[in-house]
């Protein structure tokens, strides 16, 4: 494969995924334009790109969700294509259409496909029409007083409320008690409106303890579609994926073939082009039910990349440039096992409350078989306005157990001081015997880690802490400033006690 037909791409996103896309462009020899809000003025994605355009104030509607400003930034910088990443405008058909009108290639499916599949109800009908089983549900019960309740009771509680336009757990609520229906629906509508600009809801019968298994597909504009195996994303907290892996511990070859074939059938029926994900719920009898199609790159795409040996972002760009897919289904071979952990700025000790703030100290793991897709840097202020995802740790190994051990090791070496994170919680997940057994469901976390608390500090940590705090007790200005240990001027074995004094930014 030679050079791609783009010379400059605008990346309409922030954080780790923007960094990931900029790097993919750079490897293809394509210049990049970042966009950023005032809250991201010195964020890594903005620093890494060749050019950066300020969109506006921190609020998403004024920056990363503002179609006009993003398109104008692309026009002004002479970009030929736009990569939307995930979230924000990635599944907004109006944005894809606006790009087209401005002669920009939108790196994703055509607007009509996004629109059709983005409407969860249409997507369900489409899947059913090609013989793929779906979850029982009611499409758009309407916002009229009582309509929701009626639909829910018709399906039978418990039910799941979902943003018809949504994805990623935003605007999603489980309702087991009819009394909670109204307030939960209001909350779901508000979140849906904020995240997707559309508050239409969908009600589905809740499948108890399902496994969430999805299929990565890749389609070119010439009618070629392949699937790249499945990902299991059952480990979720409040419908938000936390740990993903590929392959699924549940899947054997016949299951994988059937699931992949179903996914390709849906994609083909939709006229799908570019990378996409077909999501399924699998019940306790190993039957799968079509859930929805995500018409964009997924957060968890790296596990597929490591197992299938394919660069999905580069493939997206090539397909968008009109190239023919360079692999057929027979060429796809899956090797080993990959696990991903999402690192969130949240406090597991305080009900997983978001924990924005300044990254005071950062050390990211670097070990063989481990990939860290990070969107943060030391000194950065993690804004309160966006998703709490900081980075993703992905571990590959020949076997699932080796990949899990490798992941645990990477999480141990990952240091983020400042915002509280779920790093220790993630390690508790991957080190849990039920996780090792592959015994997963979307209830995995409440079932097994509902009362998780971090261990108390062991004596050696208390001893080190006491020593450190004592050494800094009388340091001038220590009470209000940030400090970290200085490099010893003299080599090792110098008297250390004086050297524990910190440094202050001048």
């Amino acid at each position: 494969m030679g050079a791609v037909d783009f010379t400059k791409i605008l990346v309409a996103n922030r954080g780790e995924i923007a960094v990931r896309i900029i790097r993919a462009c750079r490897e293809l020899g394509i210049a990049t334009v970042a966009v950023y809000s005032e809250a991201d003025a010195l964020a890594p994605h903005m620093l890494l790109a060749d050019e950066a355009v300020l969109l506006g104030p921190p609020e998403p509607a004024q920056s990363y969700l503002h179609i006009g400003r993003v398109v104008e930034a692309a026009r002004r910088t002479g970009a030929q294509a736009v990569h939307p990443g995930y979230g924000f405008l990635s599944e907004n058909p109006d944005f894809a259409a606006a790009c087209g009108e401005a002669d920009l290639t939108f790196i994703g499916p055509p607007p009509a496909v996004i629109r059709a599949l983005g409407d969860k109800s249409r997507a369900r009908r489409l899947a059913a029409a090609v013989g793929v089983p779906i979850v029982p549900g009611v499409d758009d019960p309407g916002s009229a007083e009582g309509a929701l309740r009626e639909a829910a009771l018709r399906l039978g509680l418990p039910v799941l409320l979902k943003a018809a336009a949504g994805g990623g757990g935003k605007g999603m609520r489980t309702v087991r008690d009819a009394a909670d229906l109204e307030i939960q629906a209001q909350g779901a509508r508000r979140e849906a409106a904020a995240a997707f600009g559309d508050d239409t809801l969908l009600i589905e019968k809740l499948i108890e303890r399902p496994r969430h298994i999805e299929v990565q597909i890749l389609a070119d504009a010439h009618g070629n579609i392949v699937h790249l195996g499945e990902r299991e994303c059952s480990v979720q907290r409040r419908h938000q994926k936390v740990v993903e892996e590929s392959p699924s511990p549940l899947a054997d070859d016949p299951f994988r073939a059937a699931l992949g074939e179903a996914a390709v059938r849906v994609a083909r029926a939709a006229g799908y082009v570019n990378a996409g994900t077909v999501e399924f719920l699998v019940d306790d009898r190993r039957s799968f039910h079509f859930l929805e199609v995500n018409t964009r790159l997924q957060v968890e795409h790296p596990v597929t990349e490591l197992v299938a040996g394919v660069d999905l972002v580069q493939a997206q760009i090539r397909v968008a440039a009109g190239e023919v897919l360079d692999l057929r289904q027979d060429d796809v071979s899956l090797r080993g096992w990959a696990v991903e952990c999402r690192v969130y700025a949240e406090d597991p000790e305080a009900g997983f409350a978001p924990s924005p703030g300044r990254v005071l100290h950062l050390h990211e793991p670097q070990l063989p078989g481990v990939r860290v897709d990070s969107g943060i840097r030391a000194g950065q202020d993690i804004p309160v306005h966006y998703d709490p995802i900081l980075s993703k740790v992905i571990a590959w190994a020949p076997t699932r157990s080796a990949a899990i051990r490798r992941m645990a090791q990477a999480l141990r070496e990952y240091v983020i001081l400042g915002p509280r994170t779920n790093l220790l919680y993630l390690r508790a997940i991957v080190e849990h015997p039920a996780f090792a057994a592959g015994d997963l469901s979307t209830q995995f976390l409440p079932d097994h880690l509902g009362d998780w608390r971090p261990p108390a500090p062991p004596p050696e940590v208390l001893a080190v802490a006491a020593t450190l705090l004592e050494s800094n007790r009388h340091a001038p200005g220590s009470s209000r400033r940030r400090r970290a240990g200085a490099i010893a001027a003299s080599p090792a074995f110098a008297d250390p006690w004086d050297c524990l004094r910190g440094w202050r930014p001048s």
Partner: protein, 171 residues
């Protein structure tokens, strides 16, 4: 040789310590345990410690009165307390409803004077695109509320509730 004493505070826990230094090594007694350690600075934010013969890499930073440490895959927060005192943090007054995280009060569901039952939804705090519902922890009367749109720090009081002698529904 020198000998220093103090109290280490971590969350709601206080641990007294005594440190005895001798050359590059020290003996620390923390609670009931004794640890022989030496600590050497490696780089800004990184120490090499040896505790009872084992290597420990310690990442650390001071942030105001807090000291954040990362040792063997776990993060800790400590501050110094006064010997004999355990009041490192203002105790949370039961009934005052606090923001669970830094964010914006996006909706207030009650008004001053209203009586509420334990578990009633009071207001919504939004941060990082997630809404968090603040619920009453006990019955009482709402005294003061926060204006919607206000940006609040974690732990800030968003609703004040005064205990009443009877529940909201008159029981």
């Amino acid at each position: 040789m020198s000998d220093t004493r103090g109290v280490l505070v971590s969350g709601s826990q206080s641990v007294p310590y005594v440190i005895e230094r001798e050359g590059p090594a020290a003996t620390a007694r923390v609670g009931d345990c004794e640890v022989v350690l030496s600590v050497r600075p490696v780089a800004p934010g990184l120490l090499a410690a040896t505790c009872n013969g084992r290597n420990l890499q310690v990442h650390w930073v001071m942030d105001g009165s807090r000291t954040l440490l990362h040792v063997k895959g776990q993060t800790y927060e400590f501050e110094l307390g006064r010997a004999g005192s355990r009041e490192a943090r203002a105790p949370i007054v039961e009934g005052d409803l606090r923001a669970p995280m830094p964010g914006v009060v996006s909706r207030m569901l009650v008004r001053p004077g209203q009586t509420v039952n334990a578990g009633d939804p009071l207001c919504v705090v939004e941060a990082m695109k997630m809404e968090h519902l603040v619920r009453a922890v006990r019955p009482g009367m709402v005294i003061r509320v926060t204006e919607p749109g206000t940006q609040v720090e974690s732990g800030a009081v968003v609703v004040e509730v005064e205990r009443t002698t009877e529940d909201a529904d008159g029981r």
